[in-house]
Amino acid sequence: MTILFKIALRNILRNKKRSLITLSAVSFGLGALIFLRSFMFGAQHQMVENITTSLTSDAQIVPKALENIYNTNGYIEDPESIRKILRSDPRILNFAERVIAGGIVSSATNSIATFIVGFDPVQEVAIKSRRDVMQGRLLTRDDEHGAAIGEKMRQIMGVEIGDKIIVTAQDYYGALAGEAFTLVGTFETGNDQIDNGTVMLLTPTAQRMLSLEHRLSKFALKIQSDQDVEKVVNDLRKKIQGMGGTELKVLTWEELIPMLAQMIRFQNGMLFIVVLIVLTVVAAGILNTLMMSIVERVREFGLMMALGTKPSQVIFLVVTESFLLTSFGALLGVVIGVGVSLYFGHYGIDLSSFVSTLSNFLIGSHVYPKVDVLYLFFFLLVVFLSNLMVSFYPAWRASKLVPIDAMRQVG
């Protein structure tokens, strides 16, 4: 068989120009797929990162009534036992405690329906929450009477840093509660719903104002590895179920924002259509090259068979030629695809002229491609399989040649 391998290799080198064209089709196709996947993977990673840091974190523990992130009914009655569970799991890096309620924010001239979010600045830093300060500063643990709102909301309300705003809401027992706060800063997340209608207070302040005592609305979790989220959440569910008390839910970011998860799945599905198209073109290129090279070499195959080369060995020869072409092309394709992905992964691709603020919230102005090794091997597998499959037809044709007829051909 080594002699057939040698013949296959030399046949590829014999028509260098044609082999090079075929090889570049394979490498360009594969390289493009690898880069496309890296681009998508990077963008998706950024989307998830942005959503989790600005809104959901990796997972949350919420009362059953609070499954929807914008719903504000229901509280965690016994946060201390949850804290103990969270601290005992080393896979949970950090967690932040939040209070969420619905209310109204009023200035001298304007009133707006709003979410009231009570948070702990130190804990939020620990779970890597992202808030871009637009004016003033972020709240610190000392700002017992301070508040922060979205920059857009500030503009609507017509207030300035240092002004007083009045926050009114229903407390735990259903009574109306209200308090004045000093505006210390404004923020922007890129998410209009947050930027137009959220007032941020310190957790103890919100608890006092709403008569919650020690109660909380949710725990936001930072989990060590993205791959562990599902497992950690499942373990937490088991532990919390055994606790009794208020019925609580543990939700991953995917469950909190199902639309994003669906979008990612949809994009991945679209990619398969692109893969199918690209690989069909690549396979057609291989088929064309092999067919041409076989028509040119009819006499040669005739001679080889006359000398005692078996039909199966002829098939082996042609399939090996396809395999070698594909291998060289694939190697080059991986180098190109990974190379381009790494380059842009470092420098980023500027999309600022295409994206609006909403998508800015999702991706940001720059996309940083990220090589997806799993897909890379998947693409390689499919390229090899499809090219080997198409090479069987010309191989079979060559093996069916009648030696004496083939040798008589003028070519």
Binding site: T2, I3, K6, I7, R10, N11, R14, R299, E300, L303, M304, M305, A306, L307, G308, T309, K310, P311, S312, Q313, P403, I404, M407
Partner: protein, 225 residues
Amino acid sequence: MTSSQISLEGVTKIYHSDGLPVRALDTISLKVEKGEFVVFAGPSGSGKSTLLHMIGALDQPNQGKVFVAGKNLDDLNPKQLAEFRLRKIGFVFQAYNLIPVLTAQENVEYPLLLQDIERLEREKRSMQLLERVGLLDQKNKRPGEMSGGQQQRVAVARALASRPEIVLADEPTANLDSQTGSSLIDLFRELNEDFKTTFIFASHDPKVIERARRVVRLLDGKVAA
């Protein structure tokens, strides 16, 4: 079944040339015994080459039977025919004899490689034969770098390398100068006597014909009287 090494019984082969049937072989019956040194002589178009192809299992008759080395070639499938050609027959064709991407030495060793003969033995045989045909210094050249005569001699070396029972050669001296041609015939005679290898040539070269032990004259697809 017959005891002759080669036995043709009423072999007829009809080709279609421009839609018209041409009788290349017309009910030929012929026996060749092991160790014979035969020339099929006749003008071009007399059926010499076709007859060689029948014996070498490269072509099938429309009528009649071909027995070679105890086998009815009609009973063999393409894989068995390939095996038969590989083990029993050494071919020298009229033209286009060599695999273009292989060197002279690799071409000589090709049938040995298909037979899985080990490297040292392959090299020993190919070197000996290339020396014998005067091409040892050309062993690393590819067919495209050699003259027609040199290619023909490489093909002879290849046909002999696997030590077949039967060597079939179609105009083996056609591209050679008379001295080389005659030294090739010497080599064939020697192998014929030493190993009882059967040699069958198709030729109209008088120098080949005069050295044959048996001459079968063909005319219009028939054995001439």
